[in-house]
């Protein structure tokens, strides 16, 4: 048994070369009569930030190692880290001539636990080892300089908010509240004195209702709420190797639990506009007052009415998954047989990569492109599917 403790300060230098200088990009004009000629132009594309510095992370870590011979080993690490002067591409007023500026801004706290349990056992001819891991991280913004929140936009449609007291990079969207099931509901919504259902401008029967966050009786941009985050509640994994006589089997798995993904592909696949093929959600859509589907899916319409096209919880999905990353089964031919034909070792194996993924996520791959801006994580907008592959192999050594 061993107890470890550490404290350190490190810098994140993912700051680009010469980011603090304003760099210039080309934008040309044309002058002169006739065809004219190019008037080459150059303008500053980033705002000059001469005081840009490193992010600093102070981390405290306490670890415990516990082992029983070689059979069982448990490691538990608990950490608490505080990052200050975070390097964030922060929205800046347009009147500066720019839309964002890289800045050292704010503090964020990360704390978490990492647990690893590994076992090695042999029972006669049977060898078996296992490795379990579990990690949990909680992330909280402590300070953002002179503001309380930073709202960022991704792909012009998806909003994120990073707010003091909350994790970094939350999805910020309208919350759907079923659909308008009949004309009475529309009438209530459109009656300014009746606030039971909030007005959704242009909405018809079969369109989304939304939660009126500010209670003003009208659904506007101000009714956006934090509706999820790409950071998982915890991640876990299990891998195992087994061997018996000539045979070996190994399996590796990984899992993520409790995160959300902004699947903005659904603006197309699930818009009920029919511009392209829809997902099977369309089977549950509102068709008529007498046939309202599951009450959560809007009517089909060539051009969406109400706010159906606005990013809402309709586009946010659970990103939890459990994936079997690979399975390998191998047979090693007995050495004494092989030596007779002049072969030192011969192993035949079969591996399946990514054969199974268990998830409710409707997109191709819940491990979505995590773009480089930490304020806008977890956007699925044309993420590549993960490839399944099957490999037969033969290892021969002479």
């Amino acid at each position: 048994m061993k107890l470890r403790a550490s404290y350190g300060v490190s810098g994140n230098f993912s700051i680009g070369n010469y980011d603090y200088y304003a760099s210039l990009v080309a934008d040309n004009y044309v002058v002169g009569t006739g065809v004219g000629s190019v008037a080459p132009g150059l303008y500053p594309s980033t705002i000059s930030t001469p005081d840009l510095g490193w992010e600093k992370t102070k981390m405290t870590n306490i670890g415990l190692e516990f082992g029983v011979f070689n059979m069982l080993r448990l490691e538990v690490d608990v950490y608490n880290s505080n990052t200050s002067d975070m390097l964030l591409n922060v929205p800046t007023p347009y009147l500066s001539g720019f839309s964002t500026a890289l800045q050292n801004r704010g503090k964020v706290n990360n704390k978490g636990v990492e647990i690893t349990l590994s076992t090695h056992n042999t029972f006669g001819d049977f060898r078996w080892s296992n490795n379990f891991n579990f990690a949990l991280n909680r992330n909280k913004v402590v300070d953002l300089g002179d503001v309380n929140e930073i709202v960022t936009v991704n792909n012009s449609v998806l909003y994120f908010v990073t707010r003091v007291g909350e994790p970094i990079g939350n999805y910020y969207a309208l919350v759907t509240d079923g659909i308008f099931m009949n004309q009475d509901e529309i009438n209530i919504a459109n009656d300014p004195n009746d606030k039971r259902i909030a007005t959704v401008a242009g909405a018809k029967v079969g369109d989304f209702k939304y939660v009126d966050q500010n209670g003003d009786g009208v659904i506007t941009d101000d009714d956006k709420a934090i509706v999820g985050n790409y950071a998982p509640k915890f991640t876990y994994g299990w891998s195992t190797q087994m061997g018996w006589k000539w045979f070996d089997l190994s399996i590796a798995t990984q899992g993520v639990y409790g995160n959300e993904i902004a699947n903005i592909n659904r603006r197309y696949f699930d818009s009920m506009e029919g511009s392209i093929n829809c997902m099977t959600d369309a089977l549950d859509r509102f068709i008529s007052v007498d046939n309202p589907g599951n009450g959560k899916t809007v009517q089909a319409n060539r051009s969406a009415t109400g706010k159906n096209g606005t990013i809402s919880t309709w586009h946010i999905e659970s990103g939890s998954y459990f994936r079997i990353r690979d399975i390998t089964f191998g047979v090693t031919m007995p050495k004494n047989w092989m030596n007779r034909i002049g072969i030192d070792k011969l192993r035949v194996y079969f591996t399946a990569y990514n054969p199974f993924t268990f998830t409710n996520y409707s997109g191709y791959n819940p491990e979505v492109s995590n773009n480089s801006n930490p304020l806008t994580p977890g956007v699925d907008y044309g993420t590549y599917p993960v490839a399944k592959s099957y490999v037969f192999g033969l290892n021969v050594s002479f």
Binding site: Y21, V30, P44
Partner: protein, 456 residues
């Protein structure tokens, strides 16, 4: 110990290495040609879809009674909502117009902040004049769209931007006036053919006249226009005898065009496609199309020409696709001589209504009508100053459709409610201004929203 101390203090400059391999603002502006590149980038903003190419047309023509957007679902209702006075502070066109106007202003300020590196005195004058002309133009659009806007005079930092507040409308106009005045003094009257298309002193005077006209400073407006009409500018500008020649794509930068957004379809990146409204007669208000007399040459400019099944631009913007770039390249007039003549007629009438047949205002109004073969007005047609005023406004509508003047003319003359009512839109004075973009409201704590728009 002393040696160590020396090292520590001498380190600072030594370590402050400037990048030599990338063009950065810190090492860039060194010579006349660097400043010329910076000036060219200011002009380049004019061609942006977010400015003159598209959104300017949406915010002046579609907003007005000239053009109707018939596609509620197009671009998530961006243009439709502007047409129907339903656009809020998060509208993409309204936001982009603000964003890229200030981007252009930043580019102009980058020129002006670094103008000192110029060694050639006459080039330095010209570059400063060009940057101030374009900055004035941007602020003139901003103040007419949004009212009181922050005046950004130099390149500013993020914290300065956040701390800024809206300057009152008069200060903004004062700043615009200074810029155009300075530009008119600094810029040349004309350029050699290879540099044609750049801002000239005459263009700056014409814009200054329009600034005065917008502020109802009639006699200042008249004074400036009389300079343009005087011997000082003789031979520089004229009304082309045939109005159709003004817009022909093989007759660009002609003597009637005082300032344009210039394009070239044969040069990659310098051409464009047809604007969505420039090819469908059904978008145009019937009162506009019926406003012309049968043989008014301007009527024909709004007839469609068939290029192919999906492309039928108006004669005014007719151009063929370049076989290589697949672009067209018609220019967009920002100021032309006919505008100056009509401004003159308007300002003279505002100073004093002249019912006589020798009225100068009448003479200039007729000059523009006569060119297109429309019946000339007689002094007896006008019983009052107001009747003449309405005739000028109508003439401007007939002369400049789709040239991005109509909405500004309506709000300048306080006639937008009346004109919009005729196309079924009931608007109020609050609708004269667009809202300050929502994102800007959120980032600038000292800002207040324009009346009639959600404060958030």
């Amino acid at each position: 110990m002393i040696a160590v101390g020396l090292f520590v203090t001498s380190c600072d400059d030594f370590l402050d290495e400037r990048p030599q391999s990338v063009a950065s603002a810190a090492n860039f502006y060194k010579s006349d040609s660097d400043i010329e590149n910076a000036v060219n980038a200011c002009y380049a903003t004019l061609q942006m879809s977010q400015l003159y190419r598209d959104f300017m047309i949406t915010m002046t023509e579609t907003r007005s009674d000239n053009v109707e957007d018939q596609n509620p679902g197009g671009n998530a209702g961006r243009d439709y909502n502007i047409d129907k006075f339903a656009a809020g502070a998060d509208n993409a066109a309204i936001t982009s117009m603000w964003q890229y106007s200030y981007n252009a202003i930043m580019r102009c300020n980058a020129v002006l902040d670094n103008i000192g590196v110029c060694t050639n005195a006459s080039l330095k004058q010209r570059y400063e004049g060009e940057a101030r002309f374009l900055r004035g133009l941007m602020y003139f659009n901003l103040v007419r769209f949004y009212g009181a806007v922050p005046i950004v005079r130099t390149q500013i930092s993020v914290s300065q931007a956040i701390a800024s507040s809206r300057d009152d409308v008069n200060s903004v106009y004062g700043f615009i006036e200074e810029d155009f005045k300075a530009a008119s003094a600094l810029l040349p009257k004309q350029y050699p053919d290879s540099d044609k298309g750049r801002a000239t002193s005459g263009a700056a005077l014409g814009m200054l006249a329009k600034v005065y006209l917008t502020q109802a400073r009639w006699s200042d407006c008249v004074t400036i226009i009389e300079r343009l009409l005087s011997a000082e500018y003789s031979g520089v500008y004229k009304l082309l005898p045939d109005v159709a020649d003004v817009f022909k794509s093989d007759n660009k930068l002609n003597e009637e065009l005082m300032f344009v957004v210039h394009y070239s379809k044969s040069i990659v990146g310098e051409g464009h496609g047809f604007n969505q409204y420039f090819g469908n007669a059904s978008f145009l208000d019937v009162n506009l199309r019926n406003g012309y007399e049968a043989d008014d040459a301007r009527k024909g400019l709004l007839e469609p020409v068939v290029i192919d099944k999906t492309t039928t631009p108006f004669v005014k913007f007719y151009d063929t696709f370049d076989p290589t770039t697949k672009n067209v390249g018609y220019d967009q007039a920002i100021l032309r001589y006919a505008d100056v003549l009509l401004m003159y007629a308007e300002a003279l009438n505002e100073i004093r209504f002249d019912a006589s047949s020798s009225s100068k205002a009448l003479e200039y109004l007729n000059m523009v009508r006569d060119r297109s073969g429309a019946t000339m007005y007689l002094s007896t047609d006008f019983a009052s100053q107001d009747a003449f005023r309405s005739a000028v406004l109508l003439e401007r509508r007939l002369e400049f459709p789709l040239e991005m003047h109509r909405w500004f003319d309506l709000i300048r003359t306080n006639t937008a409610e009346e004109a919009m009512a005729k196309v079924g839109m009931n608007i109020t004075k609050d609708d004269y201004l667009y809202p300050i973009p929502k994102s800007e409201m959120e980032l600038c704590p000292n800002f207040y929203q324009n009346p009639g728009y959600s404060d958030k």
